[in-house]
């Protein structure tokens, strides 16, 4: 019985006796693993970026908007006018549902802002204080308005980071006055930056004001006083989100007296399912890239098999001799398998290093986050080892089965 240490030294000795050939044989696996690692890292980077930007909208979030789901063309709800179907009472009722952490009705309006001698066109969102919690948002500077300021329709605003930067580049915005649609408002806070949303919109290009203020003073009197353009609903946990979505839908159908079979006059968007879909899409993309690269790994495996077969033929006499001296079939099998696995594992590790370097170069080029999970790295190594086992098996088996008499007779 051969000792493992002797097996290893005997295999490594055989590989070192022909270093150029060993290196060229491993090269196939090196390229294969490097491209798999780089492609998967690139795909994961893209995936992480998509997930991150969608998650920035808020976690565990349902967004209720007026109008029916648009599917297969533009098909709005009948009767309801499609616009003013959500009310403050709807929001309050939703707040009573089980598992709701925060509910925030809001009214969106566009407006021209003048401040500090500058003009800026942006969205004005009339919100309640619970909006921050619902949207996982926070103030970076100053403060947010409270319940009583909201009720009293105070003329205060909190700026998104973009607006603050554009209008108050050189001054502290807190305490400044700005004019919206002719009225004047005091800036009391600036929000933290959220960056772009998954849909490419700058989320920081916004001004938040008390909901009542927006309803009464900004969005105009043509609308009913108690309607809102959106209700944000935050669930306590992601697990509750799907159930809560159903509860919200049932509640609103009941409140809006929509009969079975009729279309809803509202839509509940589940951000986590949107995130999931987007993540799945990029993941499929990642697997596709990885799969294509894996083909080159297979080609590397075939290269190993080819060279191992050549090696068995060249070393026929040696194998015969080893058998005559007492090597068992399993000893020969192990030695040749180990040579193949060593080649492919070494190739795998070098390939991993090159792949990481390549991924780093590409992600910094495309400005993506560099995502290399230890599992993926381990998988690349394990896979390259597997390639060695699979493609080394046949040559090793051929070597083990050689008839020693025939082999010794060979020149």
């Amino acid at each position: 019985m051969m000792r493992t240490a002797d097996l290893v030294s005997s295999a490594s000795r055989a590989l070192r006796s022909n270093p150029l050939r060993s290196a060229l044989t491993a090269l196939g696996v090196i390229i294969g693993v490097a491209s798999v690692v780089a492609m998967v890292a690139l795909g994961s980077g893209a995936q992480a970026m998509v997930e991150r930007s969608i998650a920035s909208l808020g976690s565990n979030l349902l967004i209720v908007v007026p109008g029916a789901q648009q599917s297969g063309g533009v098909r709005m709800a009948q009767g309801g006018g499609g616009r003013d179907t959500l009310t403050l009472d709807d929001a309050e009722a939703i707040g009573q549902l089980e598992g709701v952490l925060a509910v925030a009705p809001s009214q969106r309006s566009g407006a021209q802002i003048v401040a500090n001698g500058l003009n800026w066109n942006t969205r004005i969102e009339g919100v309640t204080p619970s909006y921050l919690l619902a949207r996982d948002w926070d103030v970076a500077q100053g403060r947010f308005f409270d319940e009583s300021e909201e009720r009293q329709a105070r003329r205060v605003v909190v700026l998104g980071a973009t607006v603050a930067r554009e209008l108050f580049a050189n001054v502290d915005p807190i305490g400044q006055t700005m004019r919206i649609n002719g009225g004047s408002y005091e800036v009391i806070g600036v929000l933290t930056s959220k960056g772009q949303s998954g849909f490419g919109m700058d989320q920081d290009d916004i001004v938040l004001a008390p909901l009542t203020t927006v309803k009464r003073r900004i969005s105009g009197r043509q609308r009913r006083a108690d309607t809102v353009s959106q209700i944000s609903v935050k669930a306590g946990s992601e697990g509750e989100l799907n159930r809560l979505q159903e509860d919200v839908e049932n509640l609103l159908r009941e409140r809006h007296r929509i009969r079975a079979g009729d279309d809803d006059d509202f839509t509940v968007q589940n951000l986590s399912s949107i995130t999931e879909t987007a993540a799945q899409t990029t993941q499929v993309f990642t697997y596709l890239l990885g799969g294509i690269s894996a083909v080159s790994l297979l080609v590397g495996g075939i290269g190993i098999m080819n060279i191992m077969l050549v090696s068995v033929t060249e070393r026929t006499r040696e194998i015969g001799l080893r058998k005559a001296l007492g090597a068992r079939q399993s000893d020969i099998l192990h030695q040749f398998s180990l040579e193949a696995v060593t080649l492919s594992l070494a190739g795998g590790m070098i390939g991993l290093a090159l792949g990481v370097a390549g991924a780093w170069a590409m992600t910094s080029l495309f400005n993506l986050p560099l995502v290399i999970s230890p599992q993926n790295a381990l998988m690349a190594i394990a896979f390259s080892g597997l390639v060695g086992v699979l493609f080394g098996a046949y040559p090793a088996w051929r070597a083990a089965k050689l008839d020693p008499i025939e082999a010794l007779r060979r020149e």
Binding site: M1, M2, R13, S17, A324, G326, R328, D331, P404, L408
Partner: protein, 233 residues
Amino acid sequence: MMATLIEANNLVKLYQMGDETVHALDGVSFSVPRGDYCAIVGPSGSGKSTMMNILGGLDTPTSGRIVIDGADIAELSDEQLAGFRNKTIGFIFQSFNLLPRLSALENVELPMIYGGVLPKERRERAAELLHRVGLGERMGHRPTQLSGGQQQRVAIARALAGRPALVLADEPTGALDSNTGKEILALFSQLNSEGATIVIVTHDHEVAAATRRTIEMRDGHIVSDRQNGSRAA
């Protein structure tokens, strides 16, 4: 320990060559006591190599029974045969068959690696054996740095590494000039006088004359089996 090392009874080895059956061995019986030193001679094609392969556990007879050192060769599994070759047999070949990448010392260690002997122990034993065959100063040399006679000495040391019950040599002097051949034969005689059982296959009657006993084969049969008077004890 039994006095008889090899007991061969009516050995037959057939080879099928297309429609023709070749009787490489056609009913061969003989026995070899421990400590014997014998030569198997005969013209080419007489069955010497076939006999050698069976004695060495590289091949099994088509029929008949052969027991070596208490082991019935036909009964052994592939794995047991490997162990038998490792422990019971020491092979010496006409063309030395040293591994060119290994030093003399490592070549001698090789069978002990398959025997699972620990590195320190096998290195010591290999060095001791190389001293014994007169190569104590050349242990680190590669085979290509050694003369033919020196290479065969390394091969002899390697054959002795597993303390074999039987040393088998196939034309051990065939690739050497006559003086070197005589030195190798002298080494065999010395080993035999120290107790080794040796069987040499040769077509050279001068080589056969250096042994104690000559078994002559022809067409798969033993045609004569006699003690060599001049050397007989």
